[in-house]
């Protein structure tokens, strides 16, 4: 009991101190609890009594006597008491005595089941996004035990703009108001499109710098081809399949713009999202996904400009059922070596975990129902690291509202992009695809409080902070999940999770943030050891979380020759067998981490890093400069039938593709003049009066980002007069050039005619 009380006090203190420690990178104001929480000398006591309701009433009547007896036995001067319920009492203690001492005496009494401080509680950070109420999965409630209780974590940190999360998916809709371009106040970085095959990309080309999602719809004609035939709806064979906007859905769950009085909230409020397009029509291929993973983590990929915004977290809500391939293993290992964690969804088949979630080193995420049991469709198995809500509709019939969807951002275009909006109970969003981004968002919160977390630490602390054990269904017909015996061993109905099937527990945002806030113990051990040798080891490379400092070291183990409380220690190597040594580092908030070293006559080894890192507080990643489109020349006068070449300069983006239009019509028309994809404008063959038109270059990355030029088309006589009139300067030169161009065109036409 005392231990539990101590834990509670420690937890409260930790939360309070962590709130102070959080660095000032949040973009949005949130409610935070005061640094000194100010709990009074009041406790909640439960006595060891139980019984029927009638008996409880008798007990309540006798409460005053029982409390008086308790005070007499323990010597605690109880100033005031009142019953909460049968056997539960609120007691006000003597403020002039040690609260801890009084609590300890009460807790030691045989009649007391437990004592808890009557803690002061504070409103959590609840965002003002109007659709947040429907995001049950981010909240905390006894009726939805799988919900991640993000509000409590947000009271500590809402995230950091020093964290970049890559989403390898179908691309995104940049213009979604709850996402938006990073250069215009939104969250989406420029990213890249890695889809090589134009049948998949649906954007007319292979790899390019534009990861916008053009839609992944499939027509009946598509489905009639070998390449797409397996991607139709088996219930509607051959029928068209609408675009999914899958990447836009995933993006909103990770990091929709939050507390902006618009739409939904993200799991983390202020990350940068790096869209990396690897999926299109009917999925995508490893030969695109794997290089995209490397590129997103900052590793060079031939033929692609290096990523200026390397991610620390990669979200892969994709996969298929097969064993992890060596190429994925190598890619994940290469990413781990540069500190990039890969979070991947387990799959929706109810069978073995898909690749890449099944790969060693990836954080595989299975899907849960609101109640914390495995949702039927989620795949499962020992490769799963932990689980998160995936949405479930609770016995609804088709067309009726889904009770527990994973609401997020979406586009409503059936094929090509349409209006933007949000999923809801009638347009429900479900799948393990949406479990993984919840975990990615929580991981981003963890990096905000401790930017030094490496891949192994991230995984371990996500698991450490998870809620466990899993709830067991109260329905006796719901089986316990089992490890799939084969790819055909499917569990497509609800089952009660185990650690072998759904990972260490249910991701819990405040638990994960608290775990992340512990320091990281690091140890340098010698490369060579001989029997009986003095082995010097150093934990000086350990590091505390953001805003904290290491205040103590504690070494332990056989053969320790030096004082245990220094950053370095000397152990005597054993002559035979092995010795386990530990070092525990503790920070100024009382949080600790322990590294273990195994000493043998010939070696010293540890899983701990040699250095924990120097970036506990992540530096802000500056927003990209705004992309601009400038058309040159800005004005031009062109004779009827003549041509003028325009150039568009796209600044601050590696994506320089534009489309050309005249008076808003792509490619122009015979009445306004036409324009080629290379920007060559050709005036109408004849005009009776001067005609003013606007030539516009529209950036392919954002249809609202344009540059334009004003063009006057003159009848031939007026053109000659205009040119002869000598507007002077550059415009005059352009006019002359246009005239020369027109003459050249005429010559060419005559030549062809001849």
């Amino acid at each position: 009991m005392t231990q539990r009380f101590s834990t509670l006090v420690s937890l409260a203190a930790s939360v309070a101190l962590l709130a102070v420690a959080a660095h000032g990178q949040e973009l949005n104001p949130v409610l935070r609890q005061p640094a000194a929480a100010g709990d009074g000398a009041r406790v909640l006591v439960k006595l060891r009594e139980a019984g029927s309701t009638a008996r409880a009433q008798v007990q309540a009547q006798a409460a005053t006597d029982k409390v008086a007896a308790l005070a007499a036995r323990t010597g605690v001067a109880i100033r005031e008491s009142h019953p909460l319920a049968a056997a539960w009492h609120v007691l006000t203690l003597d403020p002039n005595q040690s609260a801890a001492d009084q609590v300890a005496r009460l807790a030691a009494d045989a009649a007391v089941a437990y004592v808890e401080v009557d803690h002061r509680r504070f409103a959590h950070a609840v965002p003002n996004d109007p659709l947040y109420n429907g995001q049950w999965y981010l909240q905390g409630s006894p009726t939805t035990p799988s919900a991640v209780n993000a509000e409590q974590a947000w009271s500590t940190t809402t995230g950091s703009d020093g964290v970049v999360i890559a989403l390898l998916d179908t691309g995104v809709r940049y213009e979604h108001p709850d996402l938006g371009r990073a250069d215009a106040g939104g969250r989406l970085l420029p990213g890249y499109d890695f889809v090589t095959d134009t049948r998949v990309s649906n954007d007319g080309d292979g790899r390019d710098a534009d990861p916008s999602d053009p839609g992944d719809f499939l027509t009946s004609a598509d489905l009639a081809t070998d390449f797409f035939m397996d991607c139709g709806d088996p219930n509607r064979p051959g029928q068209p399949v609408s675009s999914s906007w899958h990447g836009t859905r995933v993006a909103g769950i990770i990091g929709a713009r939050t507390n902006n009085a618009t739409g939904v909230a993200g799991s983390t409020w202020s990350p940068w999202l790096l869209p990396v397009r690897v999926l299109g029509k009917c999925g995508g291929f490893d030969s695109d996904i794997i290089p995209a993973m490397l590129w997103a983590g900052g590793i060079h990929v031939d033929g692609v400009p290096d990523n200026p915004y390397p991610a620390q977290i990669e979200n892969l809500s994709l996969g298929s059922t097969d064993a992890c391939t060596p190429a994925y293993k190598d890619a994940i290992a290469a990413l781990a070596a540069v500190g990039v964690v890969v979070v991947a969804s387990a799959g929706n088949e109810g069978g073995p975990v898909d690749t890449p979630a099944s790969c060693q080193g990836a954080v595989g995420v299975a899907g849960l129902r609101h109640a914390g049991t495995k949702v039927g469709f989620s795949s499962l198995g020992p490769e799963v690291a932990l689980s998160a809500p995936a949405g479930n509709c609770v016995n609804t019939t088709p067309g009726s509202p889904c009770v527990y969807p994973i609401n997020t951002t979406v586009n409503f275009g059936a094929t090509t992009p349409g209006s933007n909006g949000y999923t809801d109970q009638l347009n429900a969003n479900l799948g393990t695809s949406f479990s993984a981004p919840i975990v990615s968002g929580v991981a981003a919160l963890m990096l905000a409080v401790n930017g030094n977390l490496g891949v192994a630490q991230m995984r371990a602390r996500l698991q450490e902070g998870a809620s466990a054990p899993f709830p067991v269904s109260i329905d006796p017909t719901v089986p316990v999940c089992h490890v799939p015996a084969s790819p055909t061993d499917l569990q497509q109905s609800e089952c009660s999770c185990t650690t072998d099937t759904c990972g260490a527990g249910m991701v819990n945002a405040p638990g994960a943030v608290l775990a992340a806030a512990r320091p990281i113990a690091a140890v340098v051990v010698p490369g060579n050891v001989s029997p009986g040798q003095d082995v010097a080891m150093s934990a000086g490379g350990s590091a505390a979380a953001c805003g904290r400092t290491i205040v103590s070291y504690s070494w332990a183990g056989d053969g320790l020759k030096t004082p245990p409380n220094q950053s370095t220690a000397i152990f005597t190597a054993p002559s035979t067998g092995s010795v386990t040594a530990t070092v525990t580092v503790t920070d100024d908030a009382g949080r600790a981490d322990t590294a273990t070293i195994v000493l043998t006559p010939a070696s010293a080894s540890t899983q701990a890093p040699a250095a924990a890192g120097a970036h506990a507080c992540r530096a802000s990643v500056p927003a990209p400069l705004p992309v601009t489109v400038i058309v040159a020349p800005g004005t031009a006068t062109v004779a009827a039938g003549a041509s003028q070449t325009f150039t568009a300069t796209v600044a601050n983006s590696s994506n320089t593709a534009v489309s050309w239009s005249v008076n808003g019509v792509v490619g122009g028309s015979s009445t306004t003049g036409t324009i080629t994809t290379a920007g060559v404008f050709t005036a109408p063959a004849s005009v009776t009066n001067a005609l003013a038109v606007t030539v516009t270059a529209t950036w392919s990355g954002d249809s609202t980002n344009t540059g334009s030029a004003q063009v006057t088309v003159n009848p031939p006589a007026a053109q000659a007069q205009s040119s002869g009139g000598g507007g002077g300067g550059a415009t005059g030169l352009i006019e002359l050039a246009a005239l020369a161009g027109a003459l050249g065109l005429l010559r060419r036409r005559r030549g062809r005619a001849a």
């Binding site: 999925g283 890619a331 290469a334």
Partner: protein, 110 residues
Amino acid sequence: MLWRSRVPALGLALLAQACAQPQTNAPAPAPAATGECQQRVIVSFQSAAGSDMVAALATATGVRLTVVSRLLPDTYVLDLAAADCGAALQRLRAAAGVRAADPDTRRHPH
């Protein structure tokens, strides 16, 4: 695939299952002779390899290989053309210096 709304749960499950089966990429590599199959594969060597290693592999296995890209110092995306793609893949896997050879598998959104 479970993002689709208003589709019966069974349909969703079947759809997901159907879409989740690994499929391999059959690209349009160097023109294949009549009767040849084509397949894109990912080949990992046991150590860093140059394009000369790919050429040597093609010679040693009798499989026509075209380099598409290099993923990692020891890993290539290759297009193979052969009379029997399955047998060709087995020959690549069995070749000296090759750590792994796998089809370029199609993945799907979950």
